[in-house]
Symmetry: C2
């Protein structure tokens, strides 16, 4: 029954044991253990067994902003001569679902999570959201500076390859084509003017004859980029499904 309940009882029993486990993840002694428990609790887990914690959605709301602020500051300092276009681009390369999911896995966050796969068949965004909630929890427990230190020293300095990110292509169309070739998936783009009067283009993408993305834009290129982004997001979610958690 490993797929049924994520062993809530085991994880939450023995506060001292849990505190030690948490310390391994954080690199410091947690003060308020409950707020971390909340950060790790997906709404699907609530109500299955009685847990006294709320789900992590409020902490995700908070952590998302705190993470953004910390990363913006880091980039601002790291690239003193870069303009805000470059900085914004770099930030989106870090705070996107795929990257945050990777980072969550790197720090073994999945080990700590509570969710119920029956109430929650589609694991979309689970790791990303929990990662953000974790940052929210650190902020609530220890304040901005501790959250900043955690993100900068444990995540950015250790796990993010900035040279590689600088060279990463944000061209979603070429990313998608590359993915399709690698995975032997048939890909079709169709891009049309929306109607004669408007200068609006509509782009649709099919992968193996199935609709995967639609995008609108003032140019053909813009419409294709948006459609490709949507298709990549869908693929990413499916890809997350295949990750082995236990």
């Amino acid at each position: 029954m490993r797929d049924l309940v994520r062993s809530i009882r085991n994880k939450f029993s023995g506060k001292n044991h849990y505190k030690k486990k948490l310390q391994k993840l954080l690199g410091f002694k947690p003060g308020n253990v409950n707020v971390y428990m909340q950060a790790f609790t997906h709404r699907s887990a609530i109500g299955v067994k009685k847990t006294k914690v709320e789900n992590n959605e409020r902490l995700e709301f908070l952590g998302d902003s705190i993470l953004d602020a910390i990363i913006s500051d880091y980039l601002f300092t790291k690239y003193p001569d870069a303009d805000e276009g470059f900085l914004t681009n770099m930030r989106s390369k870090i705070v996107n679902g795929k990257k945050l999911t990777e980072l969550a896995i790197h720090i073994n966050l999945p080990e700590y999570l509570l969710f119920n796969i029956q109430n929650f068949p589609n694991r979309n965004n689970l790791y990303e959201d929990s990662f953000e909630a974790l940052i929210g929890a650190i902020y609530i427990d220890k304040g901005y500076e501790k959250a900043e230190k955690f993100v900068k020293s444990k995540i950015l300095a250790k796990l993010v390859d900035f040279k590689e990110l600088e060279n990463t292509d944000l061209n979603f169309k070429s990313q998608l084509i590359e993915w399709a070739q690698k995975n032997k998936v048939k890909i079709e783009f169709s891009t049309l003017k929306h109607d004669q009067d408007d200068k609006i283009f509509v782009s649709k993408i099919k992968l193996n004859n199935k609709n995967y993305g639609i995008g609108f834009g003032a140019s053909k290129k813009q419409a294709e980029q948006k459609a490709a982004k949507e298709a990549l997001d869908k693929i990413e979610n499916e890809w997350q499904e295949e990750i082995e958690i236990e």
Copy 2:
């Protein structure tokens, strides 16, 4: 020639005088005056007269995130029982262009700004961007906690009516209709299915026979909301044009 140059010389001459003026705005003694000068300098001002400061776009990038984090934290604490949907909604009611522009005017920020109207005929987002840059400058000069204190005590607690915000309608269509009635502007919505196969709707809005917004969505309502939002943004920019700055 008041429209030509925003008296850069006058504003930047006399550092002590400037520091005092700055202190009036901030409520505390600034450390690094230059970073505030930078926050107030729109790119249109650079090169007109020789100023030794860069423009404010990097600080705007930073301040935007810091402001978001501070407001998220404030709402998280102020509404301990609210879900993340409500919190996200409230945050967007504060960090939107119109609201930030209002706040900037309330604290007399326009008095401090440097820009050249000849290089910059359209004043879109000037106050909003400078407001964000100011928060970035406080963060750089004094750190997160001082920025937090400034936003919470000088802005949120004093200038934002949360009861009113809670009751503010985020229904863009009804906002637009209300605006049009008040200003005796003819308004036309036309919403169509994009094509028979897709379940995509397209909504177009004309104000006094001129295109003002277009939106796409999975439902008629969604498409109309997006189109109305676009129209409202355009109106807001025009509205900003009419503000008297001097």
